[in-house]
Symmetry: C2
DNA sequence: TTGTAAGCGTTATCAT
DNA sequence: ATGATAACGCTTACAA
C-alpha cells in the first residue's frame, strides 16, 4: 500500500534505500536506459521497491540533467476559431501518446516574441507555431529552437501546410461551373499565409477564366464571425453586388451567412457563398455552408509528428512534404448564378 | 548585441563572470528576491551583464530547487465543445499573465488517472479539472495536488461552479410562461455535474408547476452535435411529442435544431427548443437558438485565479464562493405553445 | 554587502 | 554488475 505521509514525494534515493542498492543503480533501472546492464535480481528488487513506494520520477530533474524537457509548445492565434482548436487537439494527442506535454499558448494580444521567451525559459524541446506571424519575427527569435511551422511556410524552416491555393482554386472552379461571373472575396485583415494563398488560388483561377475582379467586392476584415458579418453587410449595402462570394475561412463565411439571413438575401438563390475549413458548424446553419474541407486535426497531428521525428533524428524535418489535400464540400449555399438583374 | 554561439545557452554563471561577481550574487539579483540586499552598483552591473548576454533563466532549474514549477495543468473532457475551449482560454490568459504555463490535457479516451500521473510527474503547482469525472477518482489520486474543480463540486475540494440548477429553472420558467405543458429533455449520457444540475433545476421547476414528466421524452445521448441530432430524431419519430425540449448544452441543442430542420419541424411554431451555454454558434443558426448564457471564459479565468491565489496563500480556496450567475437568452427557437393537435 | 558551500532529483562517467 | 562522484542551473542558508 502506498500509504505514506504525502508531504515529501518519493525519490530515487528512497527507492534505492528501500531496495538496498545504491542510488545510481536504482536510477539506472528506473530510467529504462538501454545500456543498463544490471543483474536481474537487483533490477527486480528496485522495480518492486519503486512500485511499493509509489515512485514517480521527477520529470523536471530529469529534464535538467538530460537537457530534454519532453515538452513542446503549441502557439495558435485564437482559440475562438475551431480550426485552430482542432490543430491543437490533434497535436496534443500525438504529443501525449509520445510522452510529451503540451504547453498551450494562445496568442491573443500578446506579442509572439513574448510567448517564445516564455517557452524558451521553460526549455521546451520544440514548438509548433500556427499562423501566428512567425515570418515577421526578428531573425534570431527562433534561434536554436526546434520549430515546425503550421500553414505558414518559411524558407529553411520545417513546416506542414495544407494545399491552400488549391482550396481557392476549387472554389473558383465550382462557382464558375455554376455560371457565376461576378465574384467577391472576404479575407482576414492580418497577413495570414493560408488565407492569402486561398485568395491567390481563387483570384488566379478566376483570372484564367477571363473574369475581371472588382476591388470593391474584395474586402478584408477581422477573421471572426462578427468580422464576416459586418463585411458582408457592407458588401450587400453597395450599389452593385457580386453573385458569389468566397470567404477565406468558415468563421468569416458563417458571419456572412448570418448577414445574408438578416438582410433577407436568400442563399443560394440570390447569392452563392463558400467558406473554407469545413468546421463542424458549417453543417449546422441552414442552408448548410458550402466550403472546402481542410483536415485540421490531421494537420496538427502531422505537425506534432514531424516535430517529434525531428527531435529524435535531427534533420528529417527538412525533407519537404506534400501539402495536405483539401476537397470541395459543395452544400447548400452555392448554386447557379442568378439571371442578371442589373 | 546578443551575438553568441547559439550552442550553449547563457547561465547565471556566465552573467556572474561577465559582471565580475560571484554566481550566487548574480542569482540574488536576477531572481528578484525581495530579501536581496545587494549594492546598487553591483546590481546594475549584473543587470547590464544579463541584458548584454541575453540571459534567460532556466525555469526548470529554478523549479527544481524551489519546489515550484510555475506551471499548472488544465484538464478538460473534449475540445470539440466550445464551452470547454472558452474555459481553457480564460484560464490560459490568467495563468500567462501571472507567469504560469499551462499544460493542456484533453481527456479523450485516456483515463483521467493517467493525465494526473503525467502532470504530477511534471511537478505542476496545481491543476484545473473541468467536468472530467474527478468525483469518481480513487481517493488519493488527487492527494497532495492543488486542484480546483470546475463545474464539478466535491466536498472539501476547492472549486468554482456556475448556477447550473438555476439555468434549468430559468428555462422551465420561460417555457411555462409561454404556455407549454409537455416537456422533453436531452442530456449527456455521462454523469456530468452541470448537466445533471441543469436537468434537476428544470425538472424541479416543472414539477412545482404541476407538470407531469414523461420518461419517453427524457433522453440521454453522447454530448455532441451528432448525439443531439440523433436523439431528437428519435424523439420526433415517437407517436406523441413534447411541445418544448430543453437540451443540457448547446451542442446537443444545435444537433436537435438540425434534426428539426431535416424533419421539417418548424421552430418555434411546432416545437420550442432551448439550449444551455450560449456558445457563439447559438446565434448563427436560423432561427437563433434560445439558450442560457453561461460565462465560460469567466469560469475558466476565475478557476485559474482561485488556483493561483491558493498557491500564494494556502487555504483561501476553501472559502466557498458564489456560483457564477447565468441568464436566459430567449431567442428564436422558443415561442408560445402550439394549440393541442392531438 | 558579498562569497562559500550545500542541495534540489536526476542522469552519466567513471573506477571498482 | 555496482557504487562513488560529478554535473545540470539554480536558490538559499550561512559565513566572511
Amino acid at each position: 500500500m502506498p500509504r505514506r505521509p504525502p508531504s515529501r514525494p518519493v525519490t530515487v534515493r528512497d527507492v534505492a534505500r528501500h531496495a538496498g542498492v545504491s542510488q545510481p543503480t536504482a536510477s539506472l533501472v528506473l530510467s529504462a536506459n538501454p545500456t543498463a546492464r544490471v543483474a536481474d535480481a537487483t533490477r527486480q528488487r528496485v522495480v518492486d521497491a519503486a512500485h511499493a513506494l509509489g515512485y514517480r520520477p521527477n520529470v523536471l530533474a530529469r529534464a535538467l540533467v538530460r537537457g530534454r524537457s519532453f515538452a513542446i509548445g503549441v502557439l495558435v492565434p485564437d482559440l475562438r476559431n475551431p480550426f485552430f482548436v482542432d490543430v491543437v487537439s490533434g497535436a496534443e494527442r500525438v504529443a501525449a501518446e509520445a510522452g510529451y506535454a503540451v504547453l498551450l499558448c494562445e496568442q491573443g494580444r500578446t506579442p509572439v516574441q513574448q510567448h517564445l521567451e516564455m517557452l524558451r525559459g521553460r526549455q521546451v524541446d520544440g514548438l509548433l507555431i500556427d499562423a501566428a506571424g512567425a515570418s515577421e519575427l526578428h531573425a534570431d527569435a527562433l534561434d536554436g529552437l526546434n520549430v515546425v511551422l503550421v500553414d505558414e511556410p518559411v524558407a529553411a524552416l520545417p513546416g506542414v501546410v495544407t494545399d491552400a491555393a488549391r482550396a481557392g482554386e476549387l472554389v473558383a472552379e465550382h462557382l464558375l461551373a455554376l455560371g457565376h461571373r461576378e465574384f467577391g472575396f472576404l479575407g482576414p485583415a492580418d497577413p495570414v499565409w493560408s488565407a492569402r494563398m486561398r485568395e491567390r488560388g481563387y483570384a488566379a483561377a478566376l483570372r484564367r477564366a477571363g473574369v475581371e475582379l472588382r476591388t470593391a467586392w474584395w474586402r478584408r476584415t477581422p477573421a471572426t464571425i462578427a468580422g464576416g458579418q459586418s463585411a458582408m453587410r457592407t458588401l450587400l449595402a453597395g450599389a452593385a453586388r457580386p453573385t458569389a462570394v468566397f470567404c477565406a475561412n468558415d468563421l468569416l463565411a458563417l458571419g456572412a451567412h448570418k448577414a445574408c439571413a438578416l438582410a433577407g438575401v436568400r442563399l443560394p438563390e440570390a447569392l452563392s457563398l463558400v467558406g473554407c475549413d469545413d468546421i463542424e458548424m458549417a453543417r449546422l446553419v441552414t442552408p448548410e455552408l458550402s466550403t472546402v474541407s481542410v483536415p485540421a486535426r490531421a494537420l496538427g497531428a502531422r505537425a506534432a509528428r514531424l516535430l517529434l521525428d525531428e527531435l529524435r533524428t535531427p534533420g528529417v524535418a527538412r525533407r519537404p512534404r506534400q501539402p495536405l489535400a483539401v476537397s470541395l464540400a459543395a452544400r447548400g449555399t452555392s448554386g447557379p448564378a442568378p439571371r442578371r438583374a442589373a
